[in-house]
């Protein structure tokens, strides 16, 4: 074969989703990653930044710099991109409720760097709808959120034409349990909701509107069933092309092209035998690269230690290398579409399109995506799908190597060593960030800040585009918390339906569950009343899957479950536990702030005279922390390794029996 005649396609954008501790530390990380061959940036913000709180806000306690970089103001943003020329960079920002604000900061920093915003390239995720369903970093009710989303879109189409203003996400839906059909239907229905809003805003001409359609991009998931997943991508391409053409009258095929980035499935990555995750990640990457006509534009991969905690630079490098090997060493980029003309693929795609269309009609008949979010319909459907997945794992119908089969394993050298194989964020990060925030505040002009906020308020109230006053705020030294608070005052805050009130009939039953149910009932009788469990999600953490599944299983096992969704304060949780007279508090924390939050809840319970209520916790809790928590009085710590949910229920019954002085019953 003559190498010179081979035409290779250009590889996709390779990214690593990263950011932690501080703007300074993240900047160093980005520069190293870029020097290692990464071709774009993907910024992870910490939870206070994503939910609109300054680092010194009480709700931010324990969360600053944990799962992403804290950005309080223009100074932080400037540090984050220090020596990174924004004019040449392609930056993806996973930011939603506060997307207009972070884009405003980005524009302001670009200007300071002497870069004309017109030339900026990148993506703001800016898809709040899926936040209500899965990701959890929403702030305002759906209607003002849609308005902020469309404001950003309208602004960039006019002023930053190469920007991808929104990334409609199906990624997070699969992470919350969605089937391929649901991923297709809900993502496309969300796109419809947003595009309809843009069209009906009266702020774009028909011509310009077609540009908007052309700028919409997607952020998709790829799971382990990679043949089906490839078909899903092809279905997306076809459905989007049709939708753009038929619903919005776009004729230019380029503007009807389904452009998407990918993060491969992380929900299926395991804590047990974590080395197996590498195979999973690579196979999943095939799903979005094999078919040239449905190939991803950008890919970011999780690391082998996904279910253990945050990845270290080396772990991320390994993930990046997987992409590089596929793109550079294999011949995948040398061929046209491998799947075109395959009757097997064709049939599967046709099938998926049909079922997606049906679900889209269902959404439509229920008043569209926004109405279906408000009514809880979509959330319930997702919880139900996830419950089915969990039942599959439980029964063994859904094999997961190392979890429900082939569980025997030699000791892994990967998790040995002082760090236990994960990144540990320095606990001084928070106080340093707060100190620098305070210093920043003293060095700005309060008059300018007040004026800028006043203009922001006026625009928010009168329906003017939010971007220009936000950029002015960024330049005036307004903080993330101030920008958000101003809008909270006007738009109000929102709590999304939890979706756990699904139909019991969907549940199935097993012998193990029957046994547990009998124990729950018996123990309830011995204690005089049905067993009550409060499931609490303290802090800013939005990972609700675990809490939802425990709630559903707990109800099926006969517990009376008090569950009120994500983002509760320690005081709210303590108070609810007392007022509801629960026998046990079960916390769920995956964001890494478990130590701080548990301590705060202990204090609240003691203050109200409810410290006798026993507590257990579940989530991503490193082993050392688990020991510490047990020492502080927690009755049990559950992690993803505890995949048998009946067993978890049983252990909770044990704990309730023990704390109430009942003798062991089994």
């Amino acid at each position: 074969m003559n190498n010179e005649t081979i035409q290779r396609d250009r590889p996709w954008l390779m990214r690593t989703y990263s950011g932690h501790s501080s703007a300074r530390a993240s900047n160093e990380l980005y520069r190293t990653n870029l020097s290692r061959g990464q071709t774009g940036l993907s910024v992870a913000f910490d939870l206070p930044t994503q939910t609109g709180y300054d680092s010194d806000h009480p709700l931010a306690r324990g969360e600053v710099g944990k799962v992403g970089v804290p950005i309080d103001h223009i100074g932080d943003m400037e540090t984050l991109f220090d020596e990174i020329p924004l004019g040449e960079m392609n930056t993806s920002m996973t930011i939603n409720a506060t997307a207009p604000w972070l884009l405003a900061l980005y524009v302001a920093v670009a200007e300071r760097q002497g870069v004309d915003p017109v030339s900026l390239q990148g993506t703001t995720q800016n898809d709040v709808l899926k936040e209500y369903l899965s990701r959890g970093t929403y702030i305002f009710p759906p209607s003002p959120s849609v308005r902020l989303t469309t404001d950003l879109i309208l602004y960039t189409v006019e002023h930053i034409p190469k920007w991808n203003p929104t990334n409609i996400c199906s990624y997070h839906l699969q992470e919350a349990g969605a089937t391929p059909t649901q991923e297709l239907a809900y993502a496309l229905s969300s796109a419809i909701a947003i595009l309809d809003a843009v069209r009906d805003s009266g702020q774009v001409s028909a011509d310009r509107f077609h540009d908007v359609v052309g700028r919409i991009s997607f952020f998709v998931n790829a799971g382990i069933r990679f043949v089906e997943e490839t078909c899903k991508m092809r279905a997306f391409v076809q459905l989007w092309d049709e939708l753009a053409g038929e619903r919005y009258g776009v004729e230019d095929p380029k503007k009807r092209r389904f452009r998407y980035g990918v993060q491969v499935n992380s929900l299926g990555l395991t804590e047990s035998q974590p080395e197996n995750n590498v195979q999973r990640i690579v196979l999943e990457m095939l799903a979005v690269t094999l078919s040239k006509n449905a190939r991803a534009r950008a890919i970011q991969l999780p690391a082998w230690n996904e279910a253990l905690g945050l990845p270290r630079p080396w772990d991320q490098q390994w993930a990046l290398r997987m992409q590089q090997v596929l793109a550079l060493e294999t011949d995948i980029l040398e061929y046209g579409d491998l799947l075109d003309g395959s009757p097997v693929i064709e049939a599967k795609v046709t099938d998926m399109i049909a079922s997606a269309r049906q679900e889209m009609l269902e959404i439509d008949s229920r008043g569209g995506m926004v109405a279906c979010i408000e009514s809880g319909y979509v959330k319930r459907e997702l919880v139900e799908s996830h419950t089915r997945r969990m039942l599959g794992i439980e029964s063994g119908e859904l094999p997961i190597v190392g979890v429900n089969c082939f569980k025997e394993s030699a000791q892994s050298p990967l998790t040995a060593g002082d760090e236990s194989g994960i990144l540990h964020v320095d606990s001084t990060v928070e106080s340093e960030q707060i100190a620098s925030l305070k210093a920043f505040r003293t060095n700005r002009s309060e008059i300018n800040v007040a004026d800028a906020l006043k203009a922001l308020r006026a625009a928010a109230k009168h329906g003017e585009n939010i971007m220009p006053p936000s950029i002015a705020c960024a330049k005036a030294g307004v903080t993330t918390g101030e920008w958000s608070e101003e809008l909270r005052q006007i738009f109000g805050e929102y709590r999304a339906p939890t979706g756990v009130d699904i139909n019991r009939a969907q549940q199935g039953s097993s012998e193990a569950l029957e046994l547990t149910r009998a124990r729950v009932q018996r123990t309830g009788e011995e204690l005089g009343r049905p067993l009550r469990l409060l499931i609490g999600k303290p802090g800013l953490d939005g990972h609700s899957n675990g809490a939802e599944q425990i709630a559903v299983k707990g109800r099926d096992a006969g517990f009376e479950i008090v569950y009120e969704g994500i983002r509760l304060t320690p005081a709210q949780i303590a108070r609810a536990a007392q007022e509801e007279g629960v026998h046990l508090i079960g916390l769920s924390v995956l964001s890494g702030s478990h130590l701080e939050l548990v301590e705060a809840i202990h204090l609240e319970l003691t203050a109200i005279g409810a410290s006798h209520i026993p507590i257990v916790i579940g989530g991503i809790i490193p082993e050392d922390d688990a020991k510490l928590l047990v020492k502080k009085g927690l009755k049990a710590v559950f992690t993803p390794k505890d995949s048998d949910m009946n067993d978890i229920m049983d252990r909770m019954v044990d704990i309730i029996r023990e704390t109430n002085g009942l003798e062991p019953d089994v």
């Binding site: 939890t498 005089g528 009343r529 009376e560 609810a576 006798h612």
Partner: protein, 334 residues
């Protein structure tokens, strides 16, 4: 084996006194106690209610029932009312009865936050209850729990789903029953006409932000109502509210207040509440001994008459009647 429940730490007298002072931990403990079906708890429950009821049954808090089909906005409206009452300086106890009636036990209770999210406010106390298999009725704990709350708060609000039989239950427990209707749904009008729906004291059409359809429902309801409430001395008002926009809330709060004052002025409250007490007792007797047992005691009307003349003391009154049927003392079974 004796099992000391983790929170049974104080004597009943002390518990009652603490409840009356509005101590939250005591209140929680008292509600747990009333929920406790063990024989060992029964005696303490009886004593607690005895200590708290006395005058409280004849005076005490305004007991309000919010009922209506699922999803009409009872909880949302409740939240608005709570804010309004708090603004007016009143304290509020809430009992929210979960609509799902599972047979195998197990329930999801998640209305707290919709109803009340301010964790610093000590003037509100919220307890959820599952309906625990009581199809078409409120379980036995609700009335005693309501009594405990009534001794600690200015207002006690009970939320239940009203479909057919259930709102009858709630109307036999509350001073003021408020039915919340869904714009555009003919169901409530039909049931009102057919007499299935016990006539509430106040009719609310929520979601007035839906516009014309809400207005139409209000006028249809007006047409279906006989203007005088069977209780007498009360014309049933029809109000429009929007919980999401906070509209019509203070009017509703005013209206609730007017109804309560009306009861007080006409000296109806005492008689009514004693009637509810009788209803609870008769229901329990009927559960255990059947209608036949109730007949042996002279029938519902005779029992009610007797209860009316006595000093309120729920469990003693109940036990006295029960003894007449069994011929033995039941209070000291353990």
């Amino acid at each position: 084996m004796p099992s000391l429940s983790a929170d049974s730490r104080r004597g009943v007298e002390e518990l009652a006194a603490s409840v009356q002072r509005g101590e939250r931990s005591a209140l929680a403990e008292a509600l747990n106690l009333l929920d406790d079906r063990r024989d060992s708890a029964r005696e303490r429950s009886a004593k607690l209610v005895h200590l708290l009821q006395g005058n409280a049954l004849d005076l005490g808090a305004h007991i309000i029932g919010m009922t209506g089909p699922p999803g009409v906005g009872k909880s949302s409206l409740g939240a608005c009312l709570i804010s309004e009452w708090r603004r007016r300086g009143m304290t509020v106890g809430v009992l929210a009865v979960d609509p799902s009636s599972p047979l195998s036990g197990g329930a999801l209770l998640g209305d707290r936050l919709r109803l009340h999210s301010n964790s610093d406010d000590r003037g509100v106390f919220f307890r959820s209850l599952s309906s625990r298999g009581h199809y078409g009725g409120l379980s036995a704990e609700v009335w005693p729990m309501c009594q405990v709350m009534a001794s600690a708060f200015d207002v006690v609000m009970i939320e239940t789903v009203g479909v057919g039989q259930r709102e009858i239950d709630i109307s036999r427990m509350c001073d003021t029953t408020c039915f919340v209707a869904q714009p555009g749904s003919g169901d409530s009008i039909q049931s009102l006409k057919a007499g299935i729906l016990e006539v509430p004291h106040i009719l609310v059409v929520n979601k007035s932000d839906m516009g014309a359809i809400a207005t139409r429902t209000a006028s249809e309801l007006a047409g279906a109502l006989t203007s005088e409430h069977p209780d007498g001395a009360w014309r049933v008002p029809i109000l429009s509210t929007s919980a999401t926009q906070g509209k019509g809330i203070s009017e509703l709060a005013d209206c609730l207040k007017v109804h309560f004052q009306n009861l007080l002025q006409n000296k109806l409250l005492k008689h009514r509440r004693r009637g509810y007490q009788a209803h609870w007792i008769v229901s329990r007797l009927r559960e255990e001994f059947g209608s036949h047992g109730v007949e042996r005691l002279g029938g519902e009307a005779a029992i009610a008459e007797q209860i009316q003349s006595e000093t309120p003391d729920l469990y003693s009154q109940y036990d006295a009647l029960r003894r007449q049927l069994t011929g033995c003392d039941t209070t000291n079974k353990s």
